[in-house]
Symmetry: C2
Subunit: 333 residues, 2 copies
Amino acid sequence: MNYDAARVLGGDQRAISRLMTMLERRDPSAAFAMKELDAYTGRAYTIGITGPPGVGKSTLVDRFTEHLRNLDLTVGIIAVDPDSPYTGGAILGDRIRMQRHFLDPSVYIRSVSTRGQSGGLPRIVKSLVRLLDAAGMDVILVETVGVGQTELGIMNVADTVIVALMPESGDSIQTLKAGVLEIADIFLVNKADREGADRMAAAMRAMLHTVSEPADWQPTVLLTQADRGAGIPELWEAVSSHRSYMNDSAQCGGFSPVDDRRSERRRQEFLESLQEELNQLVKTQIENNPTLQSMLDDVANGKLEPYSAAVELLKDGAPLRFRFLTDQEVSPA
Amino acid sequence: MNYDAARVLGGDQRAISRLMTMLERRDPSAAFAMKELDAYTGRAYTIGITGPPGVGKSTLVDRFTEHLRNLDLTVGIIAVDPDSPYTGGAILGDRIRMQRHFLDPSVYIRSVSTRGQSGGLPRIVKSLVRLLDAAGMDVILVETVGVGQTELGIMNVADTVIVALMPESGDSIQTLKAGVLEIADIFLVNKADREGADRMAAAMRAMLHTVSEPADWQPTVLLTQADRGAGIPELWEAVSSHRSYMNDSAQCGGFSPVDDRRSERRRQEFLESLQEELNQLVKTQIENNPTLQSMLDDVANGKLEPYSAAVELLKDGAPLRFRFLTDQEVSPA
């Protein structure tokens, strides 16, 4: 597979898809491509949308995309799917609802599975966001299902985080842990035609008032009915004012909050990539190491206890102690 | 913290809890303890229970435990909680329902969070199961919430896997992917008083008939109403016949399926522990490596592209190439 920088930079959907696949397969030339494209990033604005299953996130993304297209903005969408056996069908259904945007050359849609990945948001999402940024998308939407850790990871990829809830979650305000309160820049009460929506929004506002510092961004609480498109222009307005706040360079001693978040994001992408590459190396080395292979057999047949065997293998002075090599060890004088 | 082997082997709850905490904190003496206890494992029978949120798993576990206690069996329970901001409250509520068993010295209950762990079932669950086995539990129940990968991991820890569904999941049969069909030894349609339960069970049976090999275990489909205790004795019967099948040594050329599963489980626990210990070492080495620290700064400020920087750092001949050291390198002649 090869990669065409000019076509990616020009927003060509096939070229973008090809490079994304290269990244997913850890094709060595993907690293080269990312390096080359990095100079063209920094212009897109990334919005994360998360919330529990069934809250209507996909419909929100669909209607929000429609609104952004009416404003003549190009949109990249990354849908992070848990690929759960239980929700697989539902997710497929959601994607079908997005179908009308699939034919629009100014909307790029990609699904990323969390299956087989480590917990939290897959590392690759950060790379894909930068790729879509280089490809000239004005707005990038990252949608995650709020189960487990993935939704907390969204703040490490988005400039603005939207948390969507709905009235029927009933006790959901009480069960919202501090983690989610802290990551949300905008709260949506979707399906606002259902009973209890206003009460829920009022309770949210009251609670946010008690927890946030006056100097910080005060999270907005909005009511939406995504299926009818109600509240969508207001959502874009709320995002836009959060964006102004994020771009205000007086906030963090000369750096704007958005610069701050993006630097931290790059740092994390580097560390996560390093961890991933190391895990691959370890895997290969285990497969090719005869000592480890015979230990595995002893562990399986009960001669060795699994946990202590692993711990002992790596303690100081043990034969399979590993470390980064020094320059001298790599190329001895 | 110290550990008292005799008290753990005698099933003393405080001693078990102390050792579990040591394992969670990666206390070095926990590895020693696990090594010592390994000889006393192999007697307990481990049952995994998984299913989507709201299906009534905790009530099932509660009633099932009651049944096992009436048969005078000791029970260890490991509840794997996603620790989701959205379901935190619900989980707490579930645990409260289990309260009556907390006072029973023959029932040991422990919650394990998946937060901060890699995807799938946390590695530590495998160690905890062996610990409860050594502590003399007759039956160990591992409960996971079926979202994402965790429920597929349950088959790597349980001798019998129960997948619980309910009629209202409506289209849940269609959305059950092959993965879940393959891991389930017993299917429950819980909340069987609700409309569509019989139809769902019949559809499950029909589908299972088309996918399973005649020589294999034919998954059982049962109707339960856990809140009334209905179907619980039948569940234990179904588990018992699966257990007989699993213990039949004619199955895999002299080895019983249960031996086979347990060997594979030990192998995986070793590999996962090794990966975990390595990740810890890498973390420490990154924190203390000046080259890496200055690279991190360059990545953050945009001088280096995050992904390619990580990839290049580890390729052949690169200064931070790492590998397991050979005996000679560890103790040069």
